[in-house]
């Protein structure tokens, strides 16, 4: 009969645990972001501070492994009506976010500008859309409406191991593909040369950057900005020259492929370990790269992403993600979400976020703040423990941030150096994540299996066009 008793016990436990677990109280505002590391902790610190100031709201931040996982999770959540009030979508999801609809045909997201309307402020926070840096404001403005709240914006930049370059006799940090190749020849000729010269992740973003640098569009109809894009140019001349250069760098033993797509960790570790002299990466990790390099005993010098010297330099793109507001929220939830978004991306928080990561300050006012030594006093009152514990940041107090950490300025300067055009505004296209997958898969095929560049890219273009055609069939008006 003992087993019977176990069963009865289990039943009792079951009944007890069904008791209501979620307490009622402040208006709950859920935000989902694509970070699970210190950036998630930072956002949670900020939410806790916000909840203290506004006890009527309870902001809850949940983290996902990466942008792609969050994108998929949000689509699923909308299906069963468990979506958050605010979700962080990466730049490639912009078209999908604008098009996303519920079963009843209503849009899933509401443009931030529409939610704010013509109010001068929400709970005392002014939207100040003009305060956003130009590249950001232009990327996320559609038909004159500001669509989502910029938060983490980056650009792709290069980090060089200064000591290795100097030892090899490379005087200036290379800026063009040819200069990179020449520098690599010198570096690899050294008796104690690193394993390879350079690396970067096989991520669609770097491909798009290089195409834009050459002034070429990625998709038709003005890069999808004049009208809905219906065709991709993955196998364009600009694309083929970039990937051919990439492949030649690998063939020469300069570039090392870490073996998997979107491998941020592997490439990062190779640079910090001194296995490569140069790393093309996102500016999002500028602080960590600088810190870790110093820890490993060398100087990581930031510079613009190298471009094709045979073409006029058109400029680089932004990357990163913005915060989208769900449509159809209860009034008090929407109000709370707007308050939170405006507070979360205000001047001081924007500056702090930039300092702990390396994402560019998205507000001009944050840039101005960091250009003087006043930043410390402005940020400190509401700062998170992550900020307070960062030795690099604490050591910089008393001087202008950009003087203390010149690398911090590179991405902002690079974006400002772009000539405005549809190419450098960045592509807006449906099913962009899937299109990116076709690009990275083709590049992997080229790097690993030695497939012909034009052939592989043409194949990817055909598949991407099919994906896009299907997307437009379901989403175009």
């Amino acid at each position: 009969m003992q087993r019977k008793n176990i069963f009865v016990l289990l039943l009792v436990v079951m009944l007890m645990s069904i008791a209501p677990a979620f307490a009622q109280g402040a208006t709950e505002i859920k935000m989902w972001i694509a970070f699970t590391d210190y950036r998630l902790d930072w956002a949670r610190d900020k939410a806790a501070k916000f909840n203290e100031v506004f006890p009527q709201y309870n902001v809850i931040v949940e983290g996902y492994d990466n942008y792609e996982a969050l994108f998929a999770a949000t689509a699923l959540a909308f299906e069963n009506n468990t979506q958050p009030a605010v979700v962080q979508y990466f730049e490639a999801a912009t078209r999908d976010a604008l098009d996303a609809r519920n079963a009843d045909g209503t849009l899933r997201f509401k443009p931030i500008a529409d939610a704010i309307g013509d109010r001068a402020d929400v709970n005392g926070f002014a939207p100040a859309f003009d305060d956003f840096v130009d590249a950001v404001r232009e990327y996320y403005t559609f038909d004159g409406t500001f669509a989502s709240m910029p938060w983490n914006t980056s650009s792709s930049i290069m980090f060089s191991n200064q000591e290795l370059l100097t030892a090899a006799g490379v005087e200036a940090i290379p800026t063009t593909w040819a200069e990179v190749e020449a520098a690599c020849a010198k570096i690899m000729a050294m008796p104690d040369a690193p394993t390879n010269c350079i690396t970067w992740p096989n991520h669609g973003w770097f491909f798009e950057q290089s195409v834009a640098q050459q002034g070429a569009e990625l998709v038709n109809n003005g890069n999808g900005r004049a009208d809905r894009a219906t065709e991709t140019f993955i196998a364009s001349e600009a694309a083929v020259s970039y990937v051919s250069w990439w492949k030649s760098m690998q063939d020469a033993g300069y570039y090392v492929y870490t073996g998997s797509q979107r491998d941020w960790t592997g490439t990062y570790n190779a640079f910090i370990a001194g296995d490569v002299a140069m790393l093309i990466y996102s500016s999002s990790d500028t602080t960590a790269v600088t810190n870790d390099a110093a820890g490993a005993g060398f100087t990581a010098a930031g510079s613009f992403m190298p471009h094709n010297g045979d073409m006029d330099y058109a400029g680089n793109l932004i990357g990163g993600a913005t915060l989208w507001l769900s449509n159809g929220l209860a009034t008090e939830v929407e109000e709370g979400a707007l308050t939170w978004l405006l507070w979360f991306t205000n001047t001081e928080n924007g500056a702090e976020w930039h300092q702990i990561t390396g994402y560019i300050p998205v507000r001009k006012s944050s840039v101005e703040l960091l250009a003087t030594d006043a930043w410390f006093a402005a940020i400190e009152p509401m700062a998170s423990p992550i900020w307070a514990d960062n030795e690099l940041i604490q050591g910089a107090q008393g001087q202008a941030w950009y003087d203390a950490l010149p690398n911090a300025r590179v991405a902002s300067d690079q974006l400002a150096a772009a000539t405005p055009s549809s190419a450098t505004a960045g592509a807006i296209v449906g099913a962009f994540p899937a299109i990116r997958n076709e690009v990275t898969a083709a590049i992997e095929d080229i790097l690993v299996n030695g497939t012909d560049v034009a052939e592989a890219l043409t194949g990817a273009q055909e598949r991407a066009n099919t994906v896009l055609e299907e997307y437009n069939l379901l989403n175009a008006e």
């Binding site: 998929a72 699923l76 996303a100 609809r101 870490t258 997307y471 069939l473 379901l474």
Partner: protein, 460 residues
């Protein structure tokens, strides 16, 4: 188009009436009645898939592959309906030994109550099975004919395009080789049998033992060949990973079970120490092996370096990544296999083993000639359950260990359904791929039922 449809339905009616007419003839019932029933059943069968599809596969502009799929679907529908009609006819019309025996009809000391009571007892089960298994299964069929994506309510009818995109039959070298080998084996065996030199003929015995593996390779290879180049690696990965996991898992399980079955002190303790990994989840197995096989910091490469071997990049190499998954899965299923092999060993008559020992058979001969044949029922059971595990449950291991990579080298069919349908939001194509798996599961189940009914005895 209308003409084609009428023609197809007439063919269906003809085939149906021939089949059922013959069936009624054997039941000694009016052939005309059978032909009538058959004609109706044949048409209904043809309409089973074609009515929802609106005969779209036979539209003039359709490719030959689509027409082929259409004929296959029509044939399947007719097969299902005609088989059911035939079976029902036997059940209701036949007498004596022709009448099919239904195990479900057996009643033991039955309660003579109202019909309602058993139905009330069954209704919760039936409702759940209908809502959460049958309804989704039907919805899966509907979805597979659509262009449907997450994030948009609009859908577009695509006929069988979602299927024809992943199908592209061809003959690979492996298939051709297997066909040639099968022919050689069949002819060779037939010839040796004819000249009567079968006794103690090593060539003959070798050929006999090669028949089953060859046919198995042929079957798997033909299945892989059915699919389009984009999807073929996924099917291949599934078979490769599942196949080696099942084979190694069962063989190791049997070996360890044989070891712990030996009379030693503390056998019960050893047994417990050996079988517990069964309770570990596939996800946790993935996590632990991810740590152990980490190329930089993993203990496996560290241990290899201690004996002077430079450890490979386990999860970044396409071939080794498959093996890492296989090793993790074999470990995870080993406990289960040991447990059942032990139970099987206990059912084998000890007298037989002892008699073999007295005859001077050594341990290996005893194992091979006495133990192994006695184990076939349980090994067959393990084969089926292991295949099911490898097809579906391995998802967690893959998701934590390799995420389907590198370059799709460990993407199995279920993982592809997840990536395509959920991550990329392409519901229609994912539904079509699910149905391809469905067909395989049906194949395995039918094989299981037939074999367990005829050859394998589970008798205690």
């Amino acid at each position: 188009m209308t003409l084609t449809v009428i023609l197809l339905l007439i063919i269906a009616a003809l085939v149906g009436s021939l089949y059922m007419g013959y069936g009624y003839h054997r039941l000694r019932r009016p052939v005309v009645l059978g032909a009538g029933v058959g004609a109706v059943a044949g048409v209904l069968g043809a309409l089973l898939f074609m009515l929802p599809l609106n005969f779209c596969t036979f539209e003039p502009e359709r490719a030959i592959l689509d027409v082929g799929i259409g004929i296959l679907l029509m044939g399947t529908g007719m097969g299902v309906v005609l088989f059911s009609a035939h079976w029902l006819s036997r059940y209701f019309l036949a007498k004596g030994k022709d009448k099919p025996v239904l195990t479900g009809d057996r009643v033991q000391g039955g309660f003579n109550t109202s019909v309602l009571i058993p139905l009330v007892l069954l209704i919760p089960t039936l409702i759940i099975l209908t809502l959460f298994l049958y309804y989704p299964a039907i919805d899966l069929f509907r979805l597979s004919t659509l262009l449907a994506r997450l994030n948009t309510p609009r859908t577009v009818f695509r006929c069988v395009d979602n299927f024809s995109q992943i199908l592209d039959p061809q003959f690979s070298i492996v298939t051709i080789g297997a066909i040639i080998l099968s022919i050689v084996l069949v002819v060779g065996i037939a010839y040796i049998q004819r000249i009567g030199e079968t006794r103690n003929n090593p060539l003959y015995n070798t050929m006999r033992s090669l028949v089953t593996p060859t046919l198995l390779v042929l079957l798997l290879s033909i299945t892989v060949d059915l699919f389009a180049p984009d999807y073929r690696p996924v099917v291949y990965n599934t078979f490769f990973i599942a196949g080696w996991t099942v084979i190694l898992g069962i063989l190791l399980g049997l070996a360890v079970a044989y070891l712990v079955f030996q009379p030693v002190k503390g056998a019960a303790i050893y047994r417990t120490l050996l079988i517990w990994p069964y309770a570990i989840s596939p996800a946790v197995a993935g996590i632990i092996f991810f740590l152990m096989f980490d190329p930089l910091n993993g203990i496996i490469n560290h241990l290899l370096s201690l004996i002077g071997i430079q450890g490979p990049n386990w999860i970044k190499d396409p071939w080794l990544a498959k093996w890492t998954i296989i090793i993790a899965s074999v470990w995870k299923t080993l406990g289960y296999n040991i447990l059942f092999c032990l139970a099987g060993l206990q059912n084998i008559s000890k007298e037989l083993q002892e008699a073999a020992a007295i005859d001077g058979a050594n341990a290996w001969q005893r194992f091979w000639n006495v133990v192994f044949p006695g184990m076939t029922p349980i090994l067959f059971f393990l084969l089926i359950t292991n295949i099911t595990f490898a097809f579906f449950e391995m998802f967690g291991t893959i998701d934590f260990l390799t995420k389907g990579g590198p370059a799709g080298a460990t993407t199995t069919m279920i993982y592809e359904v997840y990536t395509l349908g959920i991550i990329e939001g392409d519901l229609g194509k994912a539904a079509a791929q699910s149905l391809v798996m469905f067909v395989m599961v049906i194949g395995i189940t039918i094989f299981q039922f037939r074999t367990s009914g005829e050859k394998v005895s589970y008798g205690a």
